[in-house]
């Protein structure tokens, strides 16, 4: 139904959140269920920040259908060796500088999981990480 793509630059915190604020604007006009909008922008924001904080560059691909929103966030970066460990709340490899800004609490992946209906993550060390976030819409 609708398709959007956004590029993310690693290391550039000033632009972090651009895709999620655009998505919020779009969804507010399309979706009456505000809970879904809120959850989905939280999930995408955390995914964007992870590319900025941990990877070199990335792409956000959003497909909005009548019954669901599918978001893919693919990055080129160091990848994640142990995904289970990365998912643990509190685990973070963020730099001191990133932590001083209030990022790097190790809660990002948990936030994504808690705010999506389906969440898939795959990663290859030295290549990059791929996230898929799906939110289902209630059609009345």
């Amino acid at each position: 139904m609708m398709h959007f793509e956004f590029d993310i630059e690693g290391g550039d915190f000033s632009k972090a959140g651009f895709a999620s604020s655009q998505l919020k604007r779009i969804l507010k006009q399309l979706v009456t269920d505000h809970k879904v909008v809120k959850k989905t922008v939280v999930a995408l924001y955390e995914a964007e920040v992870n590319v900025v904080a941990h990877a070199y560059s990335g792409k956000v691909i959003i497909d909005i259908d009548t019954d669901k929103i599918q978001i893919k966030v693919n990055d080129k970066g160091p990848g994640i060796e142990d995904i289970e460990q990365a998912m643990e709340e509190g685990y973070s490899t963020a730099s001191e500088q990133v932590r001083e800004m209030g990022f790097g609490a190790g809660m990002g992946l948990a936030n994504i999981k808690n705010n999506s209906d389906e969440f898939n993550i795959t990663s290859e060390v030295g290549v990059g990480t791929q996230l898929e976030i799906i939110a289902y819409l209630e059609i009345i």
Partner: protein, 116 residues
């Protein structure tokens, strides 16, 4: 039960003697509560719409989060002032950035008293 009159950002500015740095267009937003944290993912995960966020973070990303979460306003504690790009983003989003000389404990206590 007696229903408390809705409190606006402008009311807490007056009652707590806060400085308004930016985002005046959002000054009439209703305040439903408060949240205190300097960890951005904590706010992302747990703050609720209409809350006022007390923090010492002064960079632009604070406004992205405040706006995505539909927060009523941000209060910077201990005399911290917003970075230029934070203030500019606050104007764009229409979410006020307020300030106090008091520390987080003191201002959160007063805010709690006002809103409880």
């Amino acid at each position: 039960m007696l229903k408390r009159k809705a409190m606006k950002v402008s009311d807490i500015v007056k009652k707590l003697g806060l400085t308004v740095y930016s985002g005046v267009s959002g000054i009439h937003k209703e305040v439903t509560g408060g949240y205190v944290s300097d960890l951005l993912s904590d706010v992302m995960g747990h703050a609720k719409e209409g809350q006022v966020w007390c923090t010492l973070q002064t960079h632009k990303n604070v406004m992205a989060i405040a706006s995505l979460k539909d927060l009523a306003a941000v209060i910077l504690v201990k005399g911290y002032q917003p970075d230029d790009d934070m203030a500019a983003q606050s104007e764009v989003e229409g979410v006020p950035v307020l300030g106090t000389k008091e520390n987080t404990f003191e201002i959160a206590g007063k805010l709690y008293d006002l809103l409880k």
